[in-house]
């Protein structure tokens, strides 16, 4: 009697659910930092989660599934920003819910928040991946599909700018 196939075949949806559930909060936070809007952040994460489910077999086989998932999320964000503005706009019958918006008077005074608003989507993603999610230069470059030197240059420029406005930042 042949033995049952190896346990590696247990590539189940349950595994994917667990993987997503453990990282959902972190993805939402990083998505919010990228787009500065909780509604859009949830949309981006939803898109990323659907792609994860669809390509779960590839994700779980990746050397670093976390980085792979983060790459999917970053690509969702960059794709969203490349979309023409009239395709991004959504009209609704009801007023948008603004209760979850941070107190802009306080938050916008943070040098980092001010600087993030001036950055393009890819530069913004670079800073978030490097200094919020703690990815290495090489990992950040791989996630964003750019050269490591580009990541280094963008980080150096952003840090210099931040230090000039807030000397306490390291």
């Amino acid at each position: 009697m042949p033995p049952p196939p190896g346990r590696y075949l247990l590539a189940t949806t349950a595994d994917c659910h667990t993987f997503v559930a453990e990282r959902l909060d972190r993805w939402r936070r990083s998505a919010y930092l990228m787009c500065d809007d909780w509604h859009l952040a949830d949309d981006l994460v939803s898109d990323a989660v659907m792609l994860l489910y669809r390509h779960w077999s590839r994700v779980r086989r990746a050397d670093n599934p976390d980085a792979y998932a983060q790459k999917i999320l970053a690509r969702c964000w960059l794709t969203e920003r490349r979309r023409a503005w009239w395709r991004r706009e959504r009209t609704t019958d009801t007023m948008p819910v603004t209760s979850h918006r941070q107190d802009e008077r306080v938050i916008d005074r943070l040098p980092l928040a001010q600087m993030l608003k001036t950055l393009g989507p890819r530069q913004r993603a670079t800073l978030i991946l490097r200094y919020y999610l703690d990815y290495s230069v090489d990992e950040t470059a791989e996630i964003l599909g750019v050269a490591p030197s580009t990541v280094r240059a963008q980080c150096t420029r952003a840090l210099e700018e931040l230090r000039s406005t807030s000397p306490t930042i390291h």
């Binding site: 049952p4 247990l10 909780w38 949830d42 941070q102 938050i107 980092l112 978030i128 919020y132 930042i169």
Partner: protein
């Protein structure tokens, strides 16, 4: 800097993301795609039949046997392993066949974890398809593992041995399905070592086998039911 990032994020609002709904949406899309493939195959078969019907012989020629019914009825699939894309397409079709057969044999069965069949490209030595899924039937849950074996003439003996019961093994039965295919079922062992297995021969010197290790509550389906399912699957493969 991380603290400043955290300050910007603040306290996140409740999530509006329902991962189960998203998973179901992905599943529905996949099912629709499979249905599209099946519908295309049926339309193609219909068109072929139509062409044959339309190609009437001239008046006065002796009548010939009408083979169009056979052409239209043959919606069987072929497990192709010549290219990776053909192998993967065959994997999708095989999974769809198994899901359909499960739905016919065990109407209350629910796939808790989608059946995921993969093409394993082993080159000229004989590629195969294998996969797994989680089934719930009548409150019982269990994973099932599916795999094909063989595929080449020189593997015939190896493949056929998967249909032979070892001597003196209780719980193992060899037989022949209503469709005339050789079969083997096994239900033996106790507790966590219990195994339910069914195997049936496929065209092309292959066999397809299913393994199920039951939970404490018992097997989700009996070996006979698995055999019925895979006999139906085998009938759809040429």
């Amino acid at each position: 800097m991380r603290e400043q990032f955290d300050e910007i994020v603040g306290t996140p609002p409740p999530s509006t993301i329902d991962t189960h709904v998203l998973a179901r949406r992905v599943r529905r899309t996949r099912d629709a795609r499979r249905a599209g493939i099946a519908a295309t195959a049926i339309v193609a078969a219909g068109l072929t039949g139509g062409l044959l019907v339309g190609n009437n012989p001239p008046v006065g020629t002796p009548p010939v046997p009408d083979n169009t019914a056979i052409a239209q009825a043959d919606n069987r699939i072929e497990l192709k392993s010549d290219t990776r894309s053909n192998g993967e397409a065959s994997a999708e079709r095989l999974a769809a066949l198994i899901e359909d057969a499960v739905a016919d044999v065990a109407p209350g069965a629910v796939w808790i974890n989608a059946l995921d069949v993969r093409f394993i490209d082993a080159g000229p030595e004989g590629s195969q398809w294998s996969g797994s899924g989680g089934l719930e039937v009548g409150g019982r849950f269990g994973n099932i593992f599916v795999m094909t074996v063989g595929g080449r003439a020189e593997h015939e003996k190896a493949g056929q041995s998967g249909l032979s019961c070892p001597p003196d093994m209780s719980g193992c039965t060899e037989g022949t399905s209503p469709g005339g295919r050789k079969t083997m079922t096994f239900d033996g062992g106790e507790g966590s070592s219990r195994l339910v297995r069914a195997a049936i021969e496929l065209p092309g010197n292959r066999i397809i086998a299913v393994h199920h290790i039951p939970e404490q509550s018992g097997p989700v389906l009996s070996a006979a039911q698995f055999l019925q399912i895979f006999d139906a699957v085998a009938a759809q493969i040429k």
